[in-house]
Amino acid sequence: MAGAALLEFLLRIGDNTLILGHRVSEWCGHSPALEEDIALANTALDLIGQTQLWLGLAGEVEGKGRSADDLAYLRDGYEFRNILLVERPNGDFGKTLMRQFLFDAWHYLLLKALKGSSDTRIAEIAEKAFKEVSYHLDRSRDLVIRLGDGTAESHRRMQEALDELWPFTGEMFMSDALDAELVGEGIIPAPESLKAGWDEIVAEALTEGTLKKPADGYMHKGGRRGVHTEHLGFILTEMQFLQRAYPGATW
């Protein structure tokens, strides 16, 4: 069932951009500086725009007439397929940026590979999103380096963020039978094949930022098959409120 595996993949990638986009948008009006507020809002906007493309295609592949909005607003938590990293609470500005950097580095490599997907619809969305994500990675990496190699306080916070988020990075490179099926058809890269490139980008930035890379230990997982942390429920409560309370509302 290539259709089922494809749909699952599209939900996985689209839910990652949706949930991270929503998380980042929570900063709107609360950032430590106006420029950063604008940058975060712009990043969130790019991610939401990419979500429309991914979930729009997911609805098309599913063939039940569901739109990107239907998929975003009318599914329950267990139907979401995002990795646990993107639903982590924002914490302080440093933690938000560290999460963004760890995600961007992976997202960048994933999209780069997807540009060569045998499914042209996926290749086209990846081509578009890749440019935006390269831009995101330049910024998040720069700030991780600056804050890591900044004051004693900023360094401490960045190291704490890294230590806390590290056990959530392993899920990006895990794969299952659905992935294997799509890899076999040349639609997606093998998740584990992105690890070496990611390690390189991350190690370089951490070294420059005088941050210590945590040891690889237990890695949390579950999001890709719908098993989430309690945090996702709170995100959905806020994000889906309007469509749940006033079904079909438009403006």
Binding site: A39, A44, L45, Q50, L53, E124, F130, S134, Y135, R139
Partner: protein, 174 residues
């Protein structure tokens, strides 16, 4: 519409050249380079549009503006199609559009500097500033610095002139 009564495609392009971008009204949609194709398919005029930045909130307004402009010219069957590939790049902004941007106070994109997915070089990052010479659209000085990679709309970055001290927008190159 009867073939004999149809406006020529040149004429349609001319009309589209008068539709302003909703967020930067000094340039038109054709200056921006987002209209990729215009063609008749039977009795329907099909306009192919490519999005600038995927999350740009102006996208729906742009589509509405195109439809409105063409409907006002008497076309009753207009269809818009989205084309993602090749992805839009700031290199497609017309020469005329660049002049208009400059006059408006936004530094136009520098050709060939669109993000091609190659990460910023370490030396550029460490020096803390761009290796590009971006001239201040107000005083023309090239002593400028980047304040933020992002700006007031999804298509802009924020810069500052260190001579006349004015902050200004630079088109975000993708």
């Amino acid at each position: 519409m009867e073939p004999a009564l149809r406006p020529s495609l040149d004429e349609v392009w001319h009309w589209l050249a008068q539709v302003p971008d909703p967020e930067i009204p000094v340039i038109s949609l054709t200056d921006l380079g987002i209209i990729r194709d215009v063609e008749w398919r039977d009795d329907t005029l099909v306009v192919t549009v490519t999005p600038t930045y995927s999350g740009c909130p102006a996208t729906t307004i742009i589509n509405l503006d195109i439809e409105t402009a063409l409907t006002e010219k008497g076309l009753d069957k207009v269809r818009l199609e989205r084309r993602l590939s090749p992805a839009w790049t700031t290199d497609w902004i017309s020469a005329e559009g660049r002049e208009k941007l400059k006059a408006y106070g936004t530094a136009p994109p520098i050709d060939g500097t669109a993000a091609d997915g190659i990460l910023m070089k370490r030396i550029d990052r460490l020096s803390g500033r761009s290796n590009l010479t971006i001239a201040c659209p107000r005083c023309g000085s090239v002593n400028t610095e980047k304040i933020s990679q992002f700006g007031s709309t999804p298509c802009k970055a924020s810069y500052r002139c260190t001579d006349c001290l004015e902050p200004f927008d630079y088109f975000k190159c993708i």
